[in-house]
Symmetry: C2
Subunit: 210 residues, 2 copies
Amino acid sequence: MSHTLGIRQAQKQKTRQALLDAALALLEEQSLSSLGLREVTRAVGVAPTAFYRHFRSTADLGVALVDEALGSLHPMVRTTVSSAGDTDERIARAIELIAGHVDAYPAHVRFIARERSGGVQPVREAIRSQLVRFAEEVKTELAKDPEAEGWSDDDLLMLAHLFVDQMLITASLFLEARESSAGPEERQRVARLAALQLRLISIGRRHWLD
Amino acid sequence: MSHTLGIRQAQKQKTRQALLDAALALLEEQSLSSLGLREVTRAVGVAPTAFYRHFRSTADLGVALVDEALGSLHPMVRTTVSSAGDTDERIARAIELIAGHVDAYPAHVRFIARERSGGVQPVREAIRSQLVRFAEEVKTELAKDPEAEGWSDDDLLMLAHLFVDQMLITASLFLEARESSAGPEERQRVARLAALQLRLISIGRRHWLD
DNA sequence: TCATCCAGTTAACAACTGTTCTCCGGAATT
DNA sequence: AATTCCGGAGAACAGTTGTTAACTGGATGA
C-alpha cells in the first residue's frame, strides 16, 4: 500500500470516521442499544440517510467500534506480558501501561467495558472473540517464560484468561477514578490495589506445581 | 411484621412487582438505557401513566431491580466464603453455589452483569455500592480464618475484591454457557476453569507472607 | 354511612424514531 | 468529452416515545 485512494473514497472514510467518533462520544452517557441513528448523524451534521452508506444499523457501527478499540491493541498486550525484569517491576510497568491507555482512550475503554455484556448481541460476540484472541496471545507469551516449565496448555490458558480479565477490571477502575473527580489519589489507590492483586496471582503462579 | 396490609396496598405492590418482572424480562435483549416506560406498562397490561405511581423513571426502576437482585444475596455470600472443609472442597462448593444461583435467577444475573458498567449512572452506583458491601463482608469472613494471621486490612480487602470480581466473572460465564446452546459440557468447562482460577488464587493466598 | 383518598384510566401533546423513495452534483471511468 | 457511478440531501411515512391533565371507582377511615 498505497496508491493514495481517490478523493471520493477519502471523503467517504472521513465521514465514516466522523460517525464513529460522534457515536463514541454519545456513548459516554448511554449504551449502544439506546443509540439512535439520527442522533449520530445529527451530531456529525449529515442527513440521517447518509448513515446507511456506511453502516447497516447502529449494531453494525458498534462492531466497527470494537475493531477500532481493540484491534490495534494486540501488540501492546503481547509486549506487556513478555517484558523483562523483576516480577514487581513487570507488574508496575503493566499497570502504568494500562493507566496510560485509559488516559489516552477513555471513551474506547468505557465502550468495551460497557458493551462486553451489553444489550447488543453481535457487539458482545465481537468483543468476546477479541478477548479470546488476547488470551491466546497472552498464553503463547506465558509459554515462553521459563516459569511455564511443566504447565499444561489448559493451565496456561486459565492463567491467561485471569490476566486478561484482571486487565479489564483494572482499566475499568482507572476509568471510574478519572471521572469520580476524587483527584489523583484515587488513581494511586487503584494502582496499588491492582499491583497487590497481580502480585498475589504471580505468587500463585510460582507455586502452582508444588 | 405484619398486619396483612390492606387489599389496596396489596394490589399496589402486586402491580409494582409485575412492572419489575416485566422490565427484567424485557432487559434480556436490551439494556436499561433503552428500556421504555411504555414498553414496560404494555407488557404488564396497564396504562402508561400508572408507571408513575411506582417509579419516577426507568432509572428509578433499575435501582429497585438492583436491590431485588443483590439485596437478598448477602447471607449466601457470607456462608460461601466461611464454609468448612478442604480447600478444593470449598472451591467446588462455591462454584456449585454460583452455578445454582445462575440457574435459579438468570435474568437477575444478566441484569447485574449488564448494568454494572451500563449507561445509567444511578444504577451503576447502586450496583457498585452493593459490591463494595459484599467485599467488606467477605473481608470480615476471611479475617476469621486462621490463614489470615499477619495479614493487613488492605491485603484482606484486596483479596476480598478479587474473590467478588471472580464470582461475578464466573456467574457471567455460566450465563453465557446456558444460552449458547452448547449443551451441558460447556457448563462443565466453565466450572473447571473457575475451579483452576480459584485454586491459583488460593495458592497465592497461602504463600502471601513468604 | 358518608367523605376522603389514591391506584389506575383516558385523551391528547409535541417530539422523536427507523426506513423508503427520489433526486442532485461532483468524482470516476471510458 | 460523454457517460456512469455514488455519497449525500430532501421529503415524507407510520409508529413510537415521555409527560401533562382531568377523571373514575373502589377501598379506607371518620
